[in-house]
Amino acid sequence: MISSVPTAMVPIAPAPAAAMSEAVFALTLALLLLAPLAIAGIALINTGLGRSRSAAQALLGNLALGAIAVIVFALAGASFAGTLGTSEAAFHVAGKTWGVVGLGPFLMHGLGSAAPQAQLALLFEFMAVAMAAMIPWGSGADRWRLSAGCASAAVLAGIVFPLAAHWIWGGGWLAQLGANFGLGAGFLDAGGAATVHALGGLTALALVWIAGPRRGKFPREGLSTAMPGHNAVYVLFGCLLALVGWLAWNAAGAVIWLHAPLAALPGTAINTLLSAAAALVATFAVTQFRFGKPDASLCANGWLAGLVTSTACAALATPAEAIFAGAVAGFFTPLLVEVLELAISIDDPSGAIAVHGASGLWGLVAAGFFAPQAGQLLAQLVGIAALLGLILPLVYLLFALLNRVVAFRVDPDGERIGMDLHELGGGAYPEFVIHRDESYR
């Protein structure tokens, strides 16, 4: 029987929840089977925000990176995430246990006999690792080689994502902040704001730093060259598709990681929708005020920023709080996109650094404000410190080493003719006439 819950706020279980009923298992599994629509939305947005001469490579790259990521995660990453096992490598400092990395069975041995909840958690992690690997792909559009993208997805899925997943979801040191230091319920990340979006956004930053901007993006004089996305329809339809996936994603995450009762799921879905809607309205207003007309691609970024923010706090916030969190994300996202490009010369075609990185971090802070437990905000801040202070330098180091083995950047000729012709031998739109690009004169 479904009990009534007055708000969307989820009562967070202090200890592992009781065994999952078959009905809850079936519902969560069904939600997880809808979650790939969020991934499809991200793929369409990444593709639409790139140039037409790289469109096929962009969409194929989304598929390939996701495929590599899930295979590497199945082979090794899931073991380090520790979802199926109970053992972990840990430090013992000041009488506390600091779980660092899981030591579960390789190749997901024992999956069939694992508890239903563990199986769902693993499925959730597969979705999460695919999305985390795809987020930086849009930032490297028009210059990041497919083979280098696949190699980076392997590094992300085999090393970085499992570390973060174990710390946050697998009972690692961030999850134990509540038990060890009395900080709320430990670091909370029901939908992957940290493990997927902040990680993906920070990875995008490391990638953009290493690969550099597209040729001609920042000329010697004047403002940066505008290189608008080639298909606003892909981008905006991707936003709608992502909404469906996100509604399912956040609801499934609330059940799996926060042990939310079924009665809390409609509220979680409503908060997800409200956050995205508030973010879109805020971005619409900001771009209308700044440019005199609303900007389609920035509005798409705003919508997505609202969804990303909701991954952290939809299950913990009231509807008013969800609107506030989304509006803040939507207000700052277009400004941050502008600052990144114009002030600090970061060429991020998909806006992943602002949309996934910054909004993911903001969502985690907002979750700390909205959660009822004392000390929750501090737990969230410690988690953010780990993402910025450990994960970002680690990703940068790994990518810098990888760049020496598999060059990230395509050669100038490849960039000139487009990634489709250079890497795939054919374009996404073969009936298009390829014209000379003025920026190469």
Binding site: W209, R215, P219, R220, D347, L381, A385, G389
Partner: protein, 60 residues
């Protein structure tokens, strides 16, 4: 300079860990965690400035 920034960021993280271990008092703890985040932010700013391409560097 870009590597210096990336090295400062883990230092900020260690400050937040030290805050957890050394200060049971919530007020001091949150103050030191915020200091750790501020150090990370400074490292990020240095790394960003170190990675800024020279104007015209992206022109062929």
């Amino acid at each position: 300079m870009k590597y210096a920034g990336l090295l400062v960021m883990p230092a900020g993280f260690l400050l937040t860990l030290a805050a957890l271990l050394l200060f049971p008092d919530p007020a001091r703890r949150i103050a030191f965690v915020i200091c750790g985040l501020a150090v990370e932010a400074m490292g990020l700013v240095v790394a960003v400035r170190g990675h800024m391409p020279a104007r015209g560097a992206s022109r062929p």
